[in-house]
Amino acid sequence: MNLLEDIPELIKANVISEETAEKIKEYYKSKGSQSQQKIVIVFSVLGAILVGLGIILIIAHNWDNFSTSLKTVLAFLPLLIGQILCGYTLYKKSSNIAWKESCSAFLFFGVGASISLISQIYNLSGELSSFLLLWLFLCLPIIYIMQSSVASLLYITLSTYYLGEACYWHYPNSESYYYWLLLLLILPHYYHLYKHKAHSNFTTFHHWLIPLSIVFSLGSIANHHDRFMYLPYATLFGLFYIIGNSHYFKTKKSSNNGYFILGSLGTSYILISLSFDDYWERLRNNSYVFSEVMSSPEMISALLLFIISAISFWKHKQHVAHKEFNLSSIVFILFPFIFLIGLYTKIPTVLINLLIMAIGILNIRKGAKTDHLGILNYGLLMISTLVICRFFDTDMSYVIRGILFVSVGIGFFLANFLMLKKRKENGK
């Protein structure tokens, strides 16, 4: 039904007044222009990114027929064009988002193209990571001056790529501290988006890209005690889970809540992978020097994350009714204790299995109560994964394992069937 087409009929039938009809027309007009503006932003940004990437590829061809001086002039061309466009935008089009975002994206690639071409002309064969770092620092001010979220998203992506280059993909690995500095420098912009553009799509992209980048990068701090990396990761996922459940994110759709999804999946992944005894056996069989472990980057980062998570948890608790608490949000608090016990006994395997079971059951209960099939099936999935994992490493008889599988399978059917039936009845 098109409401605008039906307006004359509705006025004729005295359903709405002339005044209301005008208001409806105004509303649709402004809504239409807003979505049109969004399309313009998307296409102009995509255009700028494609042109920028295209320039870098053309430069990467390395034109032997051009003289050094011509190549040098060409090196400055994309940079200068980008700067002129950004300067013009600041001067004349400072309120036009499409101009701001696309010109910033172009300048971002212009800077990269320029330093690439000069490295090529003079065969400056420094590490790719140092080249990326120089590029990032030269582009950081663009984000703040132009108030550009596209530049910010490109910056976060390139920072993550830089970390991969510096710490994961090449030997020797260098320190990752620059990445954390780069991330820290983008936080004021992120905070600005959170405060002033909470419903913008750009803000949603940041809510995904920033936690994803951190998850990818945290592993780079692993040094000699990488076995303990589960601790900082568990705490990080706990923190994400708390952030994802905060008042601000609670009202958002799950697909817009990167923190919640990553926090939940990450916590479940860690719990499932630690539900096997192999890991704990290796942990028990190794001897550790306490002071060495405590001063390792793995433990220091775990401690820092724990403090931040604990403060966030405490603040979150003040705003939420007690019964709303989810067990997943306190896994990070239980984790250090489970670890400590795991250094000496076999108990953690049992504790973690119980924890997964409890989280699974609580999710099923929550899903049933709130009529949310997603949460209900997530709980069932956790329990099924647990049962499947135990299939491989226990001495249980085949009959018992078979019965367990059948029960979980029936549980899946039953729970979904009952909920759909309940929905139908409610619908009637």
Partner: protein
């Protein structure tokens, strides 16, 4: 309006820095080319690539190690200073290496220690900052083939022409029998096309 003016002024400063950095890269490299000393490093090229800066050939130099019997404190990936001289045939030769920047000569280059073989012969292996020679996309793989063919013939010699000044170095060309590898590949491409 005042805010806009401030923003524009800051933008101008940032734009100037963005222009200054590549300009400084050019000036530094040109200074080494114009006033640095020329060295010929005997080499062998291979062909990988770089996603941002394009195709290049990696050079492996014959003069990439020096025996150290007295000082055994060399660590992997530490920065060292390699003092260069010429051998009797006119090619580059490592005179000595130092942990500290030399003061009595300009003919040294800042390098990384690749590894220190203290079990066998006490050799310090070095990684030069001019091991990549960027080439046109289509030419880099052919340049490697050309090198391999020339390597079979012991009479041919491949070397890199490098200018060096006070730690900095600029790789100017890679030559096979005194002819630039770019020219050789171009001639081969023309032959193939005819």
């Amino acid at each position: 309006m005042a805010n806009k003016k401030l923003l524009l002024s800051i933008f101008c400063i940032v734009a100037a820095i963005q222009l200054f950095v590549p300009a400084k890269m050019i000036f530094d490299s040109e200074d080494v080319i114009q006033t640095g000393k020329e060295f010929k490093f005997k080499t062998e090229p291979v062909d990988p690539n770089d996603p941002f800066r394009g195709k290049y050939i990696t050079l492996r130099f014959e003069q990439n190690k020096i025996r150290q019997l007295i000082d055994t404190t060399w660590k992997e990936y530490e920065i060292v200073y390699v003092i260069l001289t010429h051998d009797s045939a006119g090619y580059a030769k490592i005179e000595s290496i130092s942990h500290f920047e030399p003061e009595n000569t300009d003919d040294y280059v800042k390098c990384k220690v690749n590894y220190y073989d203290h079990y066998n012969e006490n050799y310090v292996y070095l990684e030069y900052p001019f091991e990549k020679y960027y080439m046109e996309e289509s030419k880099a793989p052919k340049a490697e083939i050309t090198y391999r063919e020339s390597a079979r013939d012991t009479a041919q010699n491949t070397y890199a022409l490098v200018n060096v000044k006070q730690g900095d170095a600029v790789l100017r060309d890679v030559l096979i029998n005194d002819v630039s590898i770019k020219t050789i590949v171009k001639q081969q491409q023309e032959k193939e096309n005819n």
